[in-house]
């Protein structure tokens, strides 16, 4: 549910968690980003940083410049100033990622986990079973069948939580228990109802079943997509996965290594909430691609 009145919870002396609701939904997340944008715009003295998440905003503040009570009062007023979000239209980039599904690298990682940590069902097969899909082919179709909303950034530089915008493409999965100690860089995984691209060779808990040759962050800022920022994603972005074969994967990887790969980005559209809701009403969520 989305709360009428947000909750403000202390996180020590430097942080306040603003809880706007307790559900994972596009609407709640969109409210989060709308409030975050308002807070940034308001340039309230003493508010240092924000981490907007699925249904919460973590606010970092400087207690010498603003008190806890004043943050609550000012940010609370901003939340109340937001009426219906239905008429909102926002600039929203759409970024396409070439993806090799059921790739050898996530398989090798899985084998390593089974050998060293614990035996488990192979991730793609687990996803097929848990989501009642016919086969791996359908897993690919469903996963690549919709746009994903960049719901939150964080946890790791460049990492984003992607939420499927099409209810027909929702995949759920339990997380690894215990977590993996390593994950192939740019592996794609699903955990809970979210999807993520691993920006680097990090530990992880999502079920992994695909890999993209296109990086999502680059500290050297060589590729054109990273000229402005080390990290690719911004809130409000959308992502679409395009299945490719091994040959194409290798080709893109070569371009990345050469420093000439150009991410495929459409940055000329406005995302309309009203249209999205209208479109959702035409969708049969039980249908699968």
């Amino acid at each position: 549910m989305i709360y009428d009145e947000p909750r403000f919870l202390p996180g020590g002396d430097k942080f306040i968690e603003m809880e706007l609701g307790d559900e994972m939904s596009f609407d709640c997340n969109f409210l989060v980003h709308s409030v975050a944008a308002l807070i940034r715009q308001a340039k309230i003295k003493g508010i240092v940083e924000l981490v907007p998440e699925l249904s919460t905003i973590m606010i970092s503040y400087d207690g010498d410049q603003i008190s806890f009570a004043d943050v609550v009062r000012e940010v609370g007023a901003l939340r109340r100033s937001i009426g219906s979000l239905e008429d909102q239209e926002l600039d929203s980039r759409l970024i396409y990622f070439p993806v090799l599904y059921v790739d050898p690298w996530t398989r090798a990682c899985y084998d390593d986990y089974c050998a060293k940590i614990a035996k488990k069902e192979w991730d793609p097969e687990l996803l097929v079973r848990v989501n009642n899909l016919a086969n791996l082919q359908q897993l690919i179709r469903v996963h690549s069948g919709c746009e994903y909303w960049v719901a939150a950034l964080g946890f790791w530089p460049g990492l984003a939580s992607h939420m499927p915008l099409d209810p027909r493409c929702v995949l759920t999965a339990p997380k690894y228990n215990p977590p993996r100690t390593w994950t192939p860089k740019q592996a794609i995984g699903v955990g809970g109802g979210l999807c993520a691209i691993y920006p680097d060779q990090t530990p992880g808990g999502y079920q992994i079943f695909a890999r993209t040759p296109a990086p999502i962050w680059e500290p050297t800022q060589t590729l054109p997509a990273f000229k402005q920022s080390l990290a690719l994603f911004r809130p409000g972005d959308r992502v679409r996965f395009v299945p490719v074969d091994r040959e194409e994967y290798d080709y893109v990887e070569r371009k990345v290594t050469e420093g000439t790969y150009q991410h495929v980005v459409s940055d000329f559209q406005k995302f309309s909430i009203k249209r999205y809701h209208a479109w959702l009403a035409t969708i049969d969520p039980k249908e699968r691609f």
Binding site: G11, G12, P52, T56, I57, G63, G154, P157
Partner: protein
Amino acid sequence: MISVIKPGLETSVQDWPGRIGYWEQGFPPSGPFDSWSFRLANVLVGNQPGEAGLECQFMGPTLRFERAAIIAVTGAEMNPTLDGAPLELWASHVVKAGQILALGPARKGARSYIAVAGGIDVPPVLGSRSTFHMAGIGGIEGHAIKAGQTLPVGESKSVPGRRVKPAARPTIGESRVWQIEAVRGPNDDWVDEAAHQRFVSVDWKLQARSNRTGYRLDGPEWTFTPRATNKRPEHGEHPSNVLDHGYPVGTVNLCGQTPIILVVDAPSTGGFINPYTVPSAAFWKLAQAKPNDIFKFNLVTVDQAHELRRAIDRLCTPASLE
């Protein structure tokens, strides 16, 4: 310029307050863990408190100064020597070109800080020189220093022979028991009253698997309120699971039954609850604690946490020198 002869266990370039403004993109603040000792080291050599210096963890480095410098060492006791002669902590010293500064294992405390007049002059990344080794950014090539590397030093005019008044220094006790302040929240309503009682009454032991990312604690089982046990399915099955949300730095993050204090290099978001948060004023204690040390938590209010922080801030100035 300083040459690294031995790097120590994990010595990194840090600045204070670290990398601020990129948290949303997943970059933690990093910076010195015990910022009290770190800032005083800078103040001793005439730097701004935030200038880049070295954080030495558990075992310090051996460094050769290629040109004369003024330095100070603070924090944990690692028996620093200059060309073999013991070097006093909490004071500023002249180092001549060619002299060798050597730090050993930490005898008391865990993290020692070396400040050099002029600061370590590596290029800032996203506004900070702090090393965030997991992402390979900041510091020297993004990682802890390695033998054979050289550390550039900025220009400065400074004077030696200053000392931090004993009253202005953090005191590292002998007991290996730490009284750590904690503020309730943000998710204190997810654990039940019994758990709250337990949290402040039992001893929590710092596990060896702890680092600048997180401090794992051993202790009793946790118990939960209905909010944690009856919730929407997207939060996850376990009572400690919650919809992914932002993590305050210092928060006591409950992963299943394991509390992990998320510290300077911690992830910014995740899907576990945070019933308590260690305020910034207690970070120096975390930094100086060693594995198997005991933590006892004292609850403070947000206002008290602010007061404690201000008290330390007031000490990190030239007024604390003599």
